[in-house]
């Protein structure tokens, strides 16, 4: 077969990046084989990891997809399809490798995804994202794609194809704790968000209405924000430990030095600044003419706030929801350190045991949650701002 190199202008720059990433991925070991879960393993590359000619077939298939992605002129739908195929191939290869490499009856050995798998997966994921972004799908389509991606991810995990990979073995041993951690994690992230809104929204309104309050409040919240997260979680321990011990009834309400309560409080404090400052910014950005007219035609100040200022500030306030939720889903991992539960428990257990797979069991779902929350909220914000312009001709 003869290859003619296409002229440089026919190459897609992003395609080049994805191809390079994927090529390195093909070259690096696909998985690591470890005699047990804590020792350093030995890399096995794609060709060797899969039984018989399957390795070659998968490698060629991936190479073909990456090569096709190089050409600039291809249809975006085709690119997206190829990328999804690539993602499927890399998951297929991972599952097949784990099945093939795990010795029968050996419960100590582990097959973990290695750099090769991660880079392949990243290359195809980027390719899919890039194609999607260029396709500019509508809000509904994007919502459907998000739902589809979540369903596909869940489906792959539920199918059992990856059950013999290391992370899934760790999961199988802790399935019950995993679902408990999921709920704890969600409770920490959403609970702190809810608390931040209950306190932050009125506070934002207050500093908007009472100018002298603004500087001290924002300065204090800014200072809170600069405390490193580990330190803030740490500070909570003695403070609430003391409160639980000395304030009657506090302990009965769940106040304690360690556990979910101080974690919730720390996340709540971090969430406060975005909520308060965005509320204030949103309210301040309402045009003075609109405010003047609203008062001048006979609305009471409370009516102006409720019917005019808050609705107009809503997009900026929603932006705060997005920031806080994504930030807190990530930060909630640290709750694991002070017994707050959530996916952080796996991460810190894994760190203690130097069990990388256990760390991943905590980290991967956290990343997944943050991504889904971020994209989902973007869709909500966009829907709301579309509605605002619904009658644009």
């Amino acid at each position: 077969m003869r290859f003619a190199l296409p002229p440089l202008s026919a190459l897609s720059p992003t395609g080049l990046l994805f191809a390079a990433t994927g090529a390195i991925g093909l070259w690096l070991p696909l998985v690591q084989f470890k005699p047990n879960r804590i020792v350093a393993g030995q890399g096995v590359d794609l060709i060797a990891a899969l039984p018989g000619p399957a390795g070659w077939a998968v490698a060629l298939g991936m190479a073909a997809i990456l090569a096709l992605g190089l050409a600039a002129g291809r249809g975006l739908g085709l690119r997206l399809g190829l990328a999804v195929l690539g993602l499927g191939l890399s998951l297929f290869a991972l599952g097949l490798a784990a099945r093939g490499l795990m010795p029968e009856g050996n419960r100590m050995a582990r097959v973990s995804p290695a750099a090769g798998f991660w880079l392949q997966f990243l290359a195809f994921a980027l390719m899919a994202t890039d194609a999607l972004a260029r396709l500019r799908p509508g809000i509904r389509t994007r919502a459907a794609i998000l739902a589809g991606a979540v369903a596909a991810g869940t489906g792959v995990l539920a199918s059992g194809w990856l059950d013999r990979t290391s992370v899934m073995i760790e999961y199988a041993a802790r399935a019950e704790m995993f679902s408990r951690s999921l709920w704890q994690h969600l409770l920490l992230a959403f609970g702190s968000l809810g608390l931040a809104f209950i306190v932050g929204l009125p506070l934002g309104i207050a500093i908007f209405m009472a100018r002298p309050l603004r500087k001290p409040v924002l300065t204090l919240l800014n200072m809170l924000q600069t405390i490193p997260s580990l330190a803030l979680f740490g500070i909570m321990i003695p403070i609430f430990g003391w409160v639980a011990a000395h304030v009657p009834g506090a302990a009965d309400l769940g106040v304690a030095g360690i556990g979910p309560f101080p974690a919730l409080m720390a996340l709540f404090l971090y969430a406060l600044l975005p909520v308060v400052s965005n509320t204030w910014v949103g309210l301040s950005s309402v045009s003075p003419a609109v405010r003047d007219a609203a008062l001048g035609i006979g609305m009471t100040p409370a009516q102006v706030l409720r019917q005019v200022e808050l609705p107009l500030a809503l997009p900026v306030v929603l932006a705060a929801v997005r920031i806080v939720l994504v930030q807190n889903i990530g930060l909630a991992v640290i709750a694991g350190l002070i017994g707050g539960g959530g996916f952080g428990s796996f991460v810190f257990q894994g760190l203690n045991q130097t069990a990388m797979d256990l760390i991943l069991l905590g980290a991967l779902p956290t990343i997944f949650l943050a991504l889904v929350a971020g994209i989902g909220l973007d869709l909500v914000i966009e829907t709301l701002s579309r509605q605002k312009h619904r009658s644009t001709p």
């Binding site: 045009s287 003419a289 609109v290 405010r291 003047d292 007219a293 609203a294 008062l295 001048g296 035609i297 006979g298 609305m299 009471t300 009516q303 005019v308 609705p311 107009l312 605002k388 312009h389 619904r390 009658s391 644009t392 001709p393």
Partner: protein, 308 residues
């Protein structure tokens, strides 16, 4: 009728408005003119208590404005401002409906009122009622702003530079329309402007303000021919005076018997336009439709009134 009785406003001891008294009769237009910082806007905002007077009283009819809750007072008074202040998240119809809703009108009544006002302001309800303000042109937005101010049939309408954001062509049209609608509804109108031309065109009486004081409150012709102070004279503009004086009357006022060649002009044409036409076409007289002529000499004589 609205009466301002020795009204003053002090900010940390400094008077922004000082001892202003004036009366606007029902159905009349009062134009408050002055440079920026003259206190004209503060004076206007004291009428609906967006600014609370330090001293003095505002009487609206027989009611002391200070005796009514501010928001209830404002619902009785129309208010339109520069840049219209329409609610960007509400449709045109919803914007117009705000005050009637606050007053608890029935929905059918509100809906009929929206259509009525939109037609009055030359906006087709079928097209514009459900649009958001940003989808309208500047002139249309301004009209919706005035329609909103008039929605609850106020006896009194306050306007602060309502045409300030419009370009000259749309502005002239908006002024004509406002004048016509005001005459039709019989609304008393107080309008703030920095533009003497606008004040002369709209005002039945003009209040000239400077440094918080009312310098003169008189009909336009008097402001032009007998300015009370050098400041008023400067504001009127010596170079513009004859033309402004002419702009106050129509051709009908100077019509005399006679014949002249050319296309007859409408008797509603202002004297200023008639003069311009005479000068431009180099003619001594213009025919007026319906009979008679207007002569350049008569126009000149009328314009000289100002400089004597």
């Amino acid at each position: 009728m609205i009466r301002l009785d020795h009204l003053s406003k002090l900010y940390s001891g400094r008077a922004v408005v000082e001892d202003v008294s004036l009366t606007v009769e029902t159905g009349q237009i009062a134009a408050l003119v002055g440079t920026s910082g003259s206190g004209k806007t503060t004076l206007l905002r004291m009428i609906n208590r967006l600014v609370e007077p330090t001293k003095g009283r505002v009487w609206i009819g027989d009611t002391d404005a200070a005796k009514i809750e501010p928001h209830l007072l404002r619902r009785r008074i129309g208010y339109a401002i520069q840049g219209h202040g329409l609610f960007p998240h509400r449709t045109v119809g919803e914007n117009i409906a705000i005050v009637p809703r606050l007053l608890g009108w029935r929905e059918a009544e509100i809906s009929a009122r929206i259509d009525e006002l939109m037609q009055l302001f030359d906006l087709d309800p079928a097209v514009y009622r459900d649009r958001l303000p940003h989808a309208l042109s500047g002139g249309q937005q301004q009209r919706v702003g005035v329609a909103r101010a008039l929605a609850a049939r106020p006896e009194l309408l306050l306007m602060d530079e309502p045409f300030g954001a419009l370009d000259p062509v749309i502005r002239a049209k908006a002024q004509d329309d406002l004048r016509a609608i005001q005459r039709q509804l019989g609304t008393t109108l107080v309008i703030v402007t920095h533009d003497m031309e606008e004040a002369i065109q709209l005002g039945d009486r003009i209040a000239v303000m400077d440094k918080g004081r009312l310098l003169q409150f008189a009909p336009p012709s008097e402001i032009l021919t007998a300015p009370a102070t050098p400041f008023v004279e400067a504001l009127v503009g010596a170079a513009e005076r004859p033309f402004r004086l002419l702009s106050l009357s129509t051709v009908d006022a100077l019509r005399e018997p006679g014949e002249a060649p050319g296309t007859p002009i409408n008797p509603d044409t202002s004297l200023r336009e008639a003069l311009a036409l005479c000068l431009w076409e180099g003619r001594a007289a213009l025919p007026v439709s319906g009979g008679g002529i207007v002569t350049l000499a008569a126009l000149q004589a009328r314009a000289e009134g100002a400089s004597r």
